[in-house]
Point group: C2
Chain length 281, copies 2
Amino acid sequence: MFERIAVLGVGLIGGSFARAAKKQGLCRHVAGCGRNTRNLLRAMELGIIDSFTTDPASSCEGADLVLISSPVGSFRELAGAIAPGLRPGAIVTDAGSVKGDLVRMLEEMMPEGVHFVGAHPIAGSDRSGLEASSDDLFRGAWCIITPTGRSDSASAQKVSALWEALGCRVQHMDPFVHDRVFAAVSHLPHVAAYALVNTVADLERGSLAYAGQGFRDTTRVAASSPEIWRDICIHNRDNLLEMINALRKNLEGMAGMLEASDAAAIEEAFSRARAVRREIG
Amino acid sequence: MFERIAVLGVGLIGGSFARAAKKQGLCRHVAGCGRNTRNLLRAMELGIIDSFTTDPASSCEGADLVLISSPVGSFRELAGAIAPGLRPGAIVTDAGSVKGDLVRMLEEMMPEGVHFVGAHPIAGSDRSGLEASSDDLFRGAWCIITPTGRSDSASAQKVSALWEALGCRVQHMDPFVHDRVFAAVSHLPHVAAYALVNTVADLERGSLAYAGQGFRDTTRVAASSPEIWRDICIHNRDNLLEMINALRKNLEGMAGMLEASDAAAIEEAFSRARAVRREIG
């Protein structure tokens, strides 16, 4: 499918992508790039990448596909570094959890003849880093592809086919719609989990010794990478703010019912949530 | 260990207790009691109980151990119904998720010669009901025993030994301390999960089609029984209100950092939460 894939950021997502692409025989050569030489050496050792450099521009030389799989806060700088050296016909895609303005920016930064198509595989984890990567991370997962009016349709098709070949269920979505959807089902739950852990740690730290499966599950994603999630929050700020504020309002409502000892209202709110939650499975 | 155990409420906890007690040979006879005859017939069919009635008083006649494993909102009425007919020397215990004032009330309601000792096995689930019960639900789980200055120490020892025999790690705790601890690590996370589901359902219902593992885990407990959790919230109201308000304040702080695009503060808050969460494992 490709001759040479450059993977910028060889962590959980980039590493799993490289492993899966190799396993499916989708390319001849994977060039890895990152900030941490030890991590890249480890990726070589594991056979996940075929060459490496810490210089983004040189890692993308001659690549017909570039995957940007670093925290979204690094996208602008990386795109600026690689754009001048990209070969005509190359496709650039990403695995970022935020699209919207980032997609617009990346499209604009690409040189003539190079096409950007945004992608977001829904396969994160509270684990992060290369060692957690696996060639079946994407199997059965959603991958949202976010082509726009400016996208090259052949490139969008090729990016879709690529993620499908890695086992994803591909869905096309407007980048701005994407950001609302994932503010709701992913970014807000992460913020809620981080806030919940800090609240309990501040108020009743000793109680954590008695945390059961409920607490563990509810807060599992609070073990996620602070760097990755900081960037996601900042780049999806407006949607996320609206949703954090809606959650605060909902909790205010719950507190009001509880203050009034309104058992019927509490049960109704819980029943409504249970019905919704059970639909998801 | 016991001749006849009466189990008031043959659901997930009561059913699992009966199964485990039988498996460990801790009693000759388990008398089941509940509101739903079909459920009790099913428990008979599965060999979980040996006899049943929908009348609490008669189910406890001759019992040397009574387990109250119904929603905590039913405790007062049940205790009132069974107290007159309890035989001297009988031990009454419970599996309620709230202790505090409830323990005091139950102690006071017991007739001369009958001893109440509170217990809370930390083994709930988003599943509920008899069909979800199992004889190893309590294996490796904490069981908090809440004796007070008024408790009969031989009875407290016996209740401890009972839960240990069912596989629990037993910990004694003051009933009011218990309620703070579990407001933090259990009741607050449940309220947060219910609120999170309702917030997303209100704002971006369609987004739920794209819910990944993060959303599923964070909200798993929102599938829990609304009746059981309504009662827990009402009976641990003051602790829970304090913690809901602390969570609101924390989310307000997060919203402030985000409004200011304060990446460093966000990363610091996330890092703190991650360190705490990783300690729990």
